[in-house]
């Protein structure tokens, strides 16, 4: 095999920009999908059906359909049929946020439900409102419990951002595949792409493992 790694070294600034975009997309998505997930979780836990049902429908739709389809849908269907024109970046983030919010909401909901009723009663017994019990007693414990699950979602998200390359958002995947097309150095470019993803993803996966160990004991 005749390898020429210069294509990688010469394009390092472009790979760098792509990697930054991947990181930026992941952070922007998570920053929005945490409150999004909390809101959906609270809606689903509501006793009012009119509040709970739409949230359930939203979550079940986005959890059960592929992310690539959601991104395509936002990108092609919204402008064509609803006269909503979003930038590629906004499209990418909207698709990712809807998807990750749905997963987060299930994580938060499970965490909130896992806090036993006795904690609610103890909070109420000292005269707290239900909102105070939720905010000061239940939610802090629930968040601590679901931190590992949340971190796992983060790592998945980090890799799933590669799907936005299909709508020409210049993330690491898009940049890599573009360099490949220009240079025809398939092996070198894809290897470099894998190496960069791995270098960024591996420490995150290790961090998740650590979080799992750290927060394994609930009480």
């Amino acid at each position: 095999m005749n390898l020429d790694w210069s294509v990688v070294w010469n394009n390092l600034p472009r790979f760098w920009d792509g990697a930054l975009m991947t990181i930026w997309l992941s952070i922007a998505t998570m920053v929005l999908a945490i409150p999004g997930g909390l809101i959906l979780a609270f809606m689903r836990l509501s006793r009012m059906r009119l509040v709970a049902k739409p949230a359930t429908a939203f979550v079940e739709f986005f959890r059960a359909t592929p992310l690539i389809l959601q991104i395509y849908w936002v990108y092609y269907v919204l402008p064509a049929y609803f006269d909503v024109q979003l930038s590629q970046m906004a499209t990418a983030i909207l698709g990712l946020v809807c998807n990750i919010s749905s997963f987060n909401s299930e994580t938060f909901r499970a965490g909130i439900i896992s806090i036993r009723l006795g904690q609610w009663n103890a909070g109420r017994a000292i005269g707290m409102t239900d909102a105070q019990v939720m905010g000061r007693i239940v939610l802090p414990q629930a968040l601590m419990r679901v931190l590992p699950a949340l971190a796992s979602t983060w790592v998945s998200l980090f890799k799933d951002t590669s799907l936005v390359s299909i709508i020409s958002v210049a993330d690491l995947s898009y940049v890599s595949l573009k360099i490949r097309t220009e240079s025809f150095r398939i092996f070198e470019v894809l290897t470099a792409m894998a190496a960069i993803y791995w270098l960024m993803g591996y420490p995150q996966a290790k961090l998740v493992d650590w979080l799992h160990r750290r927060y394994k004991v609930a009480e």
């Binding site: 006795g118 904690q119 009663n121 103890a122 909070g123 109420r124 017994a125 000292i126 005269g127 707290m128 409102t129 239900d130 105070q132 000061r136 007693i137 802090p140 414990q141 601590m144 609930a218 009480e219």
Partner: protein
């Protein structure tokens, strides 16, 4: 009720009761947990509720603290009716009524100090400094000053329950409810919790205690109420319940617990080593 009711001899009986439970009924589906139960608690009085498991004692406490809605009857606390279904009324009651649970239910994510301070800080809106000063004073009172910075998981069961008592006291309640406060404890830590409770009673705190500790009921209680199958089968001063009861079901329940009425009591009372056998007399609070 059975037997003569020496109402005039009850502690605080001269003024209006702080808690009046009037013919309440509570059902869970087809199960009747409480049926037509009436009970009064006077200011400064220690009322002990005894009886077999599932006889409705704990349910009564939960109803009193507005944690359960009623299916009949009413509850008056400080002269006002308790409405569990109205959040405002329920909160007003709970702020004046401390509750201690069988399983402590401390907040595991907070330090011991914050556990005690969180009530005054969030509900009474004391500033952080004032809330924590109050919390420190109460931790000193239950003998746990040195544990202020620890998390509940680092404490023994007895220590956790003392923190839970301090947490309830932090709201400066007019009445304290104890729901089997020593049932989940290792035998060796029961005494330290009972000591704290006895000290509270000696200070004049009004208390309602659901307990299986018959020694405590007999020695600290001013009034004992016996439950069976969701009903009150007998009530009276400890002497009546533990020594002279004529109610067969009360006798049966007590003998199941190894309590053999007068003869045992007489023997115990005449024994000079009696005090040492009773955990509440041990100086364990500051251990």
């Amino acid at each position: 009720m059975t037997g003569p009711e020496p109402k005039q001899r009850r502690v605080g009986g001269a003024s209006a009761p702080i808690l009046a439970i009037e013919r309440i009924t509570k059902r869970y589906g087809t199960l009747t947990a409480l049926e037509d139960v009436s009970l009064t608690v006077n200011r400064g009085e220690v009322v002990c509720l005894i009886g077999p498991s599932g006889s409705g004692k704990s349910t009564l406490l939960r109803c009193a603290n507005a944690l359960e809605t009623l299916d009949g009857g009413r509850i008056l606390f400080e002269g006002r009716e308790v409405h569990a279904s109205d959040p405002k009324s329920a909160r007003a009651v709970r702020q004046r009524m401390g509750m201690v649970f069988q399983n402590f239910e401390l907040f595991p994510h907070l330090t011991v100090l914050r556990n005690v301070a969180i009530g005054p800080a969030t509900v009474l809106r004391l500033d952080r400094g004032a809330a924590e000063r109050r919390a420190r004073a109460l931790l000193a009172k239950v003998g746990l000053s040195d544990k202020a910075a620890a998390h509940p998981a680092a404490l023994s069961g007895g220590q956790q329950q003392r923190v839970a008592i301090a947490r309830a006291l932090a709201m400066e309640p007019a009445l304290m409810l104890f729901d089997e406060p020593t049932s989940a404890l290792d035998p060796e830590t029961v005494g330290e919790v009972l000591s704290v409770m006895k000290a509270l009673a000696d200070e004049g705190m009004t208390m309602v205690v659901v307990t299986h500790e018959m020694d405590f009921a007999r020695r600290v209680g001013d009034w004992v109420v016996v439950f069976d199958k969701g009903r009150v089968i007998e009530e009276g001063p400890p002497k009546q319940i533990f020594e002279t009861t004529t109610v067969a079901r009360t006798r049966e329940f007590l003998s199941h617990l190894g309590w053999h009425g007068e003869s045992t009591l007489d023997t115990a009372a005449s024994s000079s080593s009696e005090a040492a056998q009773h955990p509440i007399d041990k100086e364990e609070v500051d251990r």
